[in-house]
Assembly symmetry: C2
Homo-oligomer: 387 residues x 2
């Protein structure tokens, strides 16, 4: 398998003893540039500039990195993206803001198979605001299935671009259009797609989006999330903090939200946590998302072919059509949970998702085809020992 992006693997820090890292969609590897950047920040910026750093760029960093992310990864013009908080907290802010927009719209729509945090946030908001959650229950999220549950009572639809378990890739433009036809707002969760699949939020007219930055954006464990709010969409979020106010340093009486995306901020930006992602965004910019996507498809295709031939007892939970597939491949087998510790012990590191799925997360800039083959072979070998 010809790997056109092979040269970029050397930009990442080595992990001694790791034979195959197949969980880049849970936690991306650090770029060497990020390790250097973080160390330099601590001495040169934090120690060197001290409080002056806030005036010299830190305060603007959430929106500055947001703009970089918007341009390179999200298809978003400047001024619509910010970095901060966790995905959960940003989901809460945006869904609350969307749900509070129109009293007559009392339903929140989500996929039954969506990631727990997304569902829990919506259920919590429904509970506190007296709203109803409408579920998409039938399987992969298609425009038809969305059309069947949205209507004049829908306030906001929350869906994942790429499903965390199956890897199904939803059609952002088509579904957004269906939701808009119902007069509702569309919020995309981009956790599993940001940095690995082309996204064009502006072109699709998406209203809101969130996503995490520690997967294909390699921001480090628990790095802060991002939020996108379409320019011109005026929503008020509930967590009123000083840095989301119009004049934070006036420290005056009464909160007045800042215009635009800045109004989505609440507290002091988590600066050290948002440094590493800049290097990955720069690398994606250098390589181009189309090339990243091409290798992603090649990697997942290769993984599925290997699974077909060497893991015939496993069930493929991921779409075979690459047009409907993200950058991870999930295989189900009742014995998989029992072999996970053995795989990790031999340096083969996929993820496990209940009830019985091994998930191979393939990060195009850091994962090699050899790793995929070593990984599938190790799974086959361990499975043979317990079957």
């Amino acid at each position: 398998m010809k790997d056109l992006l092979a040269e970029y693997r050397s930009r990442f820090v080595e992990s001694p003893g790791v034979v195959a890292y197949l969980d880049g969609n849970s936690l991306g590897r650090p770029l060497a540039a990020s390790v250097d950047r973080i160390a330099a920040f601590a001495t040169e910026q934090w120690a060197g500039r001290l409080i002056r750093g806030w005036d010299e760029g830190w305060l603007d960093l959430p929106l500055a990195i947001g703009d970089e992310l918007g341009r390179v990864v999200l298809g978003a013009a400047p001024g619509q993206v910010t970095i901060g908080d966790s995905t959960t907290v940003l989901l809460y802010k945006l869904v609350r803001a969307a749900a509070d927009r129109d009293e007559g719209r009392t339903e929140l729509v989500i996929d039954r198979d969506d990631f727990p945090t997304d569902r829990y946030v919506l259920e919590g908001i429904a509970r506190e605001r007296g709203l109803t959650v409408r579920w998409i229950d039938e399987g992969d999220v298609t425009p038809d299935r969305v059309a069947a549950v949205v209507g004049p009572k829908t306030a906001v639809v929350v869906l994942s671009h790429i499903a965390y378990r199956s890897g199904f890739l939803a059609d952002i433009p088509a579904i957004t259009s269906v939701v808009h036809d119902a007069g509702a707002l569309m919020l995309w969760d981009l956790c599993h797609s940001a940095g690995v699949a082309p996204i064009d939020l502006d072109a699709a007219g998406v209203d809101l989006a969130v996503g995490c930055t520690y997967k294909y954006l390699n921001g480090g464990p628990g790095s802060p999330a991002f939020a996108y709010v379409r320019a011109g969409l005026h929503l008020r979020q509930p967590i009123q903090g000083w840095l989301g106010s119009r004049t934070p340093f006036a420290m005056g009486q009464g909160y007045e939200p800042a215009d635009g995306i800045r109004g989505m901020l609440s507290g002091t930006p988590p600066i050290i946590g948002m440094l590493a992602m800049r290097d990955m965004v720069a690398l994606i910019d250098e390589v181009g998302l189309d090339a990243v996507r091409a290798k992603s498809i090649a990697l997942t295709t290769f993984a599925i072919e290997l699974a077909d031939s060497r893991l015939p007892a496993a069930r493929l939970a991921t779409p075979r059509d690459p047009a409907h597939r993200g950058s991870h491949v999930t295989l189900d087998h009742p014995a998989f949970e029992s072999i996970m510790p053995k795989l990790w012990a031999r340096g083969v590191i996929p993820d496990f998702r209940r009830p019985d799925g091994i998930r191979l997360g393939l990060s195009p800039l850091s994962t090699s085809f050899d790793e995929v083959e070593l990984g599938v072979d190790a799974i086959a070998a361990e499975l043979a020992l317990v079957s």
Copy 2:
């Protein structure tokens, strides 16, 4: 002035060109150990352990550091403190949880002079829940002034232990008792006191507390905040995320909050951001908070004496009685705003707070008496040039 803690200053990273750093209560200096810890984490933990790190300690880190902070700084037994989110977001969660506890209690109490985020959060919650904000308007927060506004309708009282502007130090046990006599919950904001003034939350029967970790806990710019919830107080917070659920990795249907402090979590913990504070907590443990407080009083006393003699035109906004004073001293003068850039340009770095206050934040483990004198002299010299 004999400085019994002088030896500890060398543990902090030097800041070239900085003559007097007098803003440790906005952003504490980094300990050299923290710079090393962060760099080592990136290579050894993030790159070395990759996703396995979550099972090997990262997931428990918010509560593990919370327990350290509880023991050394907050007077809190284990299992009541967690690290994560910003102060603003934690305030929102805790005040919402407290306000939702008893429908008959419809009033939230706060000091008119409290830090903007605290006021804004309460005003936002009052707005969305149909509650009323009752203000303490008269000045420094004393038990009598609190007693005058609390009653059978009070849900929760939110006050700062040390006022961000004046440095007034409130009486936690006495005020908590007044609030409890009214049947309400007490939430202390410890942003300006954690790590610099003795606190005993358990002994005072405090219900809730929050605070930031980038001031006297030296966690770095925007490091995550902490929250304390008294054991046995069962509150439900509104931002339902996967890591606050009872069984995050079951990824099942329906949110059930984890017991105790873990139920206050929402999203994935911000690991890199919470590393540095461990070194400062360890150093405070080594030195002892009583010794830290003794030097804090000596530093602020020295600053006030210098101001009296060399800045007679400035008005002292901070209590003269050290028993009522935190670790910063605020001086007001109409010309102070205009001299701030000149002070910074000469490497003298206090903070400025509207309308006309220069705030000297004195961090006992990293601030010397010489720095205080250099700082006050520089202010006097610049003031003489414009007066």
